[in-house]
């Protein structure tokens, strides 16, 4: 029997000829990632172990993105702790505020994680890098500390689930909608402990930003990891960025899957996940009339340049509704700069949106857009649990950047078609006069 792409990557990193689901293995990591809220515990544990040196200063990545620029004194102290650790141990992949970006957008952009890698991160959305054809998974701070010391992590080899997407995506349907639809279908624990393998003709044509978005949310179905087999699109993305040599793996034709689920993509509308679980996905046509107070466009899920362009195409020439806040967060310094060059920042400002430096901020109710009691936000983020973005009686609706931008204009959850129609209608009336 063959192996899945996930099993192959795990086997190679454990120096084994083969692995099977259920095997307990110890594997080398190519990159061990932490951020300003998870690294402090890892650093405490590391220093307490008294080993005095890291396993490889090139294979640790530290990013101040959650509560940076510093949210308050305690957050400043956590960022300082991480900075001092990076300096003390000569960590190559430490980005200061000003250089950094949201970790899961930054690392692929900078070629720090590459196809064939085994990556762990003290952040649940570390599963994002599976889009590059890597095995990538979230762990805790103590696991991270153990990796700082030994360069390894233990794993139970997961069963793999195959998700097969066929057909062309409709208008305004992106990777975000495919993954929200999937989580809606299988539930927040539908892929518990499993590797989610996204395949099929639709995926083979899916741009890298959308692949990163899909794999980003594997954890929201309980998945240990998400993965998309590397191909020409992957090669195009990594070729000029990769810091290290990379390897393309693929699942064998006779690889074992615990479950296979097929999706007819033309039948999938833009999705909106209602409070308080990402699995409460509904098609945009079923949403009804829901007034909103805030929109957030960004986060590790949809902070890519492509997402900024989509939002800009909807907001162009229009205004954010009165009494509504639209917060737009380009994912990295490079993306922000590119938005500047393309005139998108000016466009966002003209529309009345707020443009922020890269930060996770509002996604987890940290700062830069927290919600009051009774407020509702449409967000391109990945979670809508109770109290996620602020007060326990506030609500978060998850959507793609086009739906989020349209909602900012109308002041209620809207399809982009509603906004475009309004513009066409205005033009028609203007011409008739």
């Amino acid at each position: 029997m063959g192996m899945t792409i996930t099993e192959k990557i795990l086997a190679v990193h454990a120096n084994l000829d083969r692995v099977r689901p259920g095997d307990m293995i110890m594997a080398r990591v190519d990159m061990a990632l932490g951020n300003d809220i998870t690294a402090p515990i890892a650093i405490e544990v590391f220093e307490k172990a008294g080993v005095g040196k890291v396993f490889d200063r090139d294979k640790i990545a530290l990013v101040p993105d959650h509560f940076a620029p510093n949210k308050d004194i305690k957050s400043a102290e956590q960022c300082k702790l991480m900075r001092e650790f990076a300096r003390k141990y000569g960590i190559t992949h430490y980005w200061e505020q000003g250089e950094m970006g949201i970790e899961h957008i930054l690392l692929p952009e900078q070629g720090v994680v590459v196809p064939g890698d085994l990556v762990i991160g003290a952040d649940s959305h570390t599963c994002t890098y599976g889009a590059l054809g890597a095995f990538s998974t979230g762990v805790g701070s103590t696991d991270l500390a153990a990796a700082f010391i030994t360069g390894t992590a233990w794993f139970r080899v997961p069963e793999s689930m195959k998700f097969i997407f066929t057909g062309k995506r409709g208008k305004w349907v992106y990777g975000k909608d495919l993954i929200l639809y999937t989580i809606g279908r299988i539930g927040v624990d539908g892929a518990l402990y499993r590797a989610m393998e996204f395949t099929g003709p639709t995926i083979e044509e899916l741009p890298m930003a959308d692949r990163l978005t899909m794999c980003n949310m594997a954890i929201e179905a309980g998945g240990k990891s998400g993965i998309i087999a590397p191909d020409a699109i992957t090669e195009e993305y990594v070729r000029d960025r990769a810091e290290r040599p990379y390897t393309f793996y693929a699942s064998d034709a006779d690889a074992p899957y615990v479950e296979e689920i097929e999706f007819d993509v033309p039948g999938i509308e833009p999705q909106v996940a209602f409070p308080f679980l990402p699995e409460n996905a509904k098609g945009i046509s079923e949403v009804g009339d829901i007034a909103i107070d805030q929109v957030v466009i960004g986060a590790c899920t949809n902070g890519h340049l492509e997402d900024m362009r989509i939002a800009a195409s909807i907001l162009k020439g229009k205004k954010v509704a009165k009494y509504v806040r639209a917060i737009i967060i380009p994912g990295t310094r490079r993306i922000y700069t590119e938005c500047l060059k393309e005139g998108l920042i000016e466009l966002f400002m003209e529309s009345g949106a707020i443009v922020s430096t890269p930060t996770c901020g509002p996604c987890l109710g940290g700062y830069m857009g927290v919600l009051a009691e009774g407020e509702r936000c449409v967000a391109t983020t990945n979670r809508n649990f109770v109290g996620r973005m602020g007060h326990v009686r506030s609500e978060v609706y998850l959507a793609n950047p086009a739906v989020a931008a349209a909602s900012a204009i109308t002041g209620k959850i809207s399809s982009p078609d509603e906004v475009i129609y309004v513009q066409v209608k205005r033009d028609t009336i203007r011409k008739a006069r």
Binding site: F67, K74, A122, T142, I149, W154, D189, G365, V370, R383
Partner: protein, 171 residues
Amino acid sequence: MSQRKQISGKVFKFGDDVDTDVIIPARYLNTTDPKELASHCMEGVRPGFVKEVSSGDVIVAGKNFGCGSSREHAPIAIKGAGISSVIAKSFARIFYRNSFNTGLTLLVSEEAPDKIEEGDELEIDLSSGIIRNKTKGEEHRTHPVPEFMRNLVAAGGLIPYMLRKHARKGE
């Protein structure tokens, strides 16, 4: 890391999909102090939770307990509040790892959470994995803790375990 043999305490009952934002809201992740984290544990859904807990008490919950974030602050907050163990139908995987790494005992049982209620007094024998509900006079079995996890605990925790493995490789 202590190797407890027996747990006894009263039950705090929760439902399915108790997520890490409910366990410890992200805005408090600017600290690593267990007592401070504990003071905010479950505050969104059960204000004052930490004040109700006596040392050794138990959380009993449905499926997918601990889903969401990788924050190790979640089991730290629960343990800091005085909870000795969590019994659930299933656990989210990062929470599972983190709990073993921080010494919070986890037990899996598909049927026990359907029978055990808020306020019940439990006695748990960790070597057999048997839960005795003293209030209802019922007993429940839990899934044995996997051998790998027992080895982690026996080694004194993840770091001692990993250091030993590493040393054996001669690195």
